[in-house]
């Protein structure tokens, strides 16, 4: 078998020039490694976000201001502020009309440096409805959450997360103490239990205040950022979604669903939307990494052209003893492919190693990060490296095959 002889010969050459072979492969190693790492870390980050969604519970329906495609990202993700959604809209559907809605809450968000006495800390404040603890899982270490009456009365009361509690009251009991948010003094009525990190967010570095208070005193707005609705069972989600849509259209005097100025999504839809964004990002990054493969391929072509020059005499000899042009092409092509393929395999191994390392570091830091090394990325790495070998090996191989045997033999 000629191909087997070519492979043996190519492997021997590769091993005899270890340093040169390695440097030749480096571009491919780095390129394939980058693709594998990006695919794997991308999938890991995706799993982190998806897990975060799942940890909120799959029985949730979200209501967001602004229209959006079914699967595309909501307008608010793009940084557009839509002001059409009000807390009254929530009260319109959460009125006990259908039994599947267990609880609901609206949200507004803000950031501030809050102070208490001499201590201060940067934190998020979250304006919610009184039903918040029934929608999301939050338990109180001390005290209580605010009531509907307090919310209606714009009460200046706050529930603080454990990180905030440690920062503002390292030694004292925060209950009953005051905290100043945006020049308004709130009385602390509760301290939340530690919830841990969720995704990239420290869920304990938050202050919860009544929605109306946050809107009027802290943000000066009358709309809400989004809403969440807890449904009794996942089976009833679509029914609840439809109900909410009908109620919101009534509220907003919309007759044609195409003109909806809101979007209703379940957690699963949210997962899909996030996945579509992260997938896009992942492939974008992988495409950038692929550029280094092209650069590596050009480097290999260059080295192989030099190798043809260096081995002109050998090529002349091979032709003199009966090698046909296509057999010379095959020889050099096999050599190039072996280099790129070996580089690809090394890249896959290193890339997988880095992916495992990243995953274990992320896990140690408490993120729910899945290690994802898909067979498809490994197969892709192998195929891409072989294709690069063919694409960039053809020119040097043809160059070799075109040599005149007499001149090649005389070459010094």
């Amino acid at each position: 078998m000629v191909i087997f002889d070519n492979l043996r010969n190519a492997w021997r050459l590769l091993r005899q020039n270890k340093v040169r072979s390695f440097l030749t492969m480096l571009g491919i190693i780095i390129g394939v490694m980058a693709v594998v790492v990006i695919m794997s870390v991308g999938a890991g980050a995706q799993s982190l976000i998806v897990n975060q969604f799942k940890s909120m519970g799959t029985n949730l329906v979200g209501v967001l201001p602004g229209k959006s495609d079914e699967k595309g990202p909501p307008a608010s993700v793009m940084g557009i502020v839509v002001t059409t959604l009000k807390d009254d809209d929530r009260k319109a559907f959460d009125n006990g009309e259908i039994p599947h809605i267990l609880a609901s809450t609206s949200y507004v968000r803000g950031i501030d440096t809050v102070t208490s006495g001499d201590n201060k800390t940067d934190t998020n404040f979250l304006g919610t409805s009184a039903g918040y603890p029934n929608v999301e899982e939050i338990n109180l270490e001390f005290g209580r959450y605010f009531t509907e009456e307090e919310e209606k009365g714009n009460a200046k009361v706050a529930v603080i997360g454990s990180t905030v509690a440690k920062a503002l009251f390292p030694d004292a009991d925060p209950l009953g103490k005051n905290v100043k948010i945006k020049k308004t003094i709130f009385q602390i009525i509760g301290v939340a239990k530690e919830r841990g990190r969720s995704g990239f967010q420290d869920q304990d570095n938050q202050i919860f205040v009544p929605l109306s208070t946050a809107q009027k005193l802290l943000l000066g707005i009358n709309y809400v950022n989004f809403m969440r609705v807890k449904v009794d069972s996942a089976d009833n989600i679509s029914e609840v979604e439809e109900f909410i849509k009908i109620k919101l259209r009534e509220q907003h005097n919309i007759t044609n669903p195409d003109n909806d100025d809101f979007s209703v999504r379940s957690t699963n839809q949210g997962i899909e939307a996030i996945s579509s964004v992260t997938n896009g990002l992942k492939f974008f990054l992988a495409a950038i990494a692929a550029i280094s493969l092209v650069v590596g391929g050009i480097g290999i072509m260059n080295i192989m052209l030099a190798a043809v020059e260096e081995r002109t005499k050998e090529i002349g000899l091979r032709k003199a003893v009966g090698a046909k042009s296509r057999q010379i092409i095959a020889q050099f092509l096999v050599e190039t492919i072996l280099i790129t393929f070996t580089g690809g395999v090394i890249g896959i191994i290193i890339g997988s190693g880095i992916s495992i390392l990243v995953a274990s570091i992320a896990k140690n830091m408490g993120y729910s990060w899945d290690l994802v090394i898909t067979p498809s990325s490994i197969i892709l790495g192998c195929i891409v490296s072989i294709v690069i070998g063919i694409v960039f090996g053809v020119t040097p191989a043809r160059h070799a095959a075109r040599l005149n045997p007499i001149e090649a033999l005389r070459h010094e």
């Binding site: 021997r12 002349g316 032709k319 003893v321 009966g322 090698a323 046909k324 007499i406 033999l409």
Partner: protein
């Protein structure tokens, strides 16, 4: 029927529209089993003639008939086929692959044939034994002396059972003792029936052949049988 028949063979090299004649109308034939030396000073065209006869180069006009076949009509692949099956080359500079052992060098031409791995191994071993290098099978050219290298090259030239062995200044890079050894092997091969064409500029070396074609400025000056033929002997035999 002659093995080689050359009729009015001409060769010109054309560079930038200037044609330089190298061979100007040669006529001769070589029979199977002959030992012919093509002799001439450098620049006489003897190497070009050998390249054409060995299918490495093509003629400009005239005819080259090899075993009834008109070589000038063959394409590149067919010429490669002829080189791989009909001729074997022994070069002045040995032209061995430095990174592989003696046996792998010997069997190199078989890579381009259908010979199996076992067949290659058997032939390689056999031929290295024939040139007296059984103990050097796996030594790379760097570990061999000049004479040993040329003997490896001769074994390589024999591996395809060629009709003709072309030896281009085979003793040019060797000391006289190794040169004698090489000439002795070539003479022995001729005794066994191989056709040998030797290219040299030295009269002494040429006289080891049976017939000398003397070439000067691209023309055959004389074509004569060797009267006082040199018979190469090992020094050990000479001292007897």
């Amino acid at each position: 029927m002659a093995l080689i028949q050359v009729v009015d063979l001409k060769k010109e090299y054309t560079t930038e529209d200037v044609a330089t004649p190298v061979l100007g109308g040669l006529n001769f034939s070589i029979e199977k089993g002959e030992f012919v030396a093509i002799m001439g000073p450098s620049g006489s065209g003897k190497s070009t003639l050998m390249h054409i006869l060995g299918f490495l180069d093509t003629l400009t006009t005239g005819k080259y008939i090899f075993e009834d076949k008109d070589v000038s009509t063959l394409d590149d692949d067919e010429l490669a086929e002829m080189r791989g099956s009909k001729v074997g080359f022994v070069f002045q500079a040995f032209n061995l692959l430095n990174r592989v052992g003696a046996k792998d060098n010997v069997v190199l031409p078989l890579l381009y044939t259908k010979a199996s791995g076992a067949e290659r191994d058997r032939r390689g071993t056999e031929l290295l034994a024939q040139v007296g290098l059984s103990h050097r099978m796996n030594n790379t050219p760097g570990q061999l002396s000049g004479g040993e290298k040329q003997r490896v090259a001769i074994a390589r030239a024999l591996i395809n059972n060629p009709e003709i062995i072309f030896a281009d200044e085979p003793t040019g890079n060797l000391d006289s003792k190794s040169g004698l050894q090489v000439m002795k092997i070539l003479q022995e091969l001729n005794e066994q029936g191989h056709t040998i064409i030797l290219v040299t500029h030295e009269k002494y070396t040429a006289e080891h052949a049976k017939r000398i074609l003397l070439i000067h400025d691209g023309l055959i000056v004389s074509d004569e049988l060797v009267k006082n033929r040199q018979i190469a002997k090992d020094k050990s035999e000479l001292s007897k």
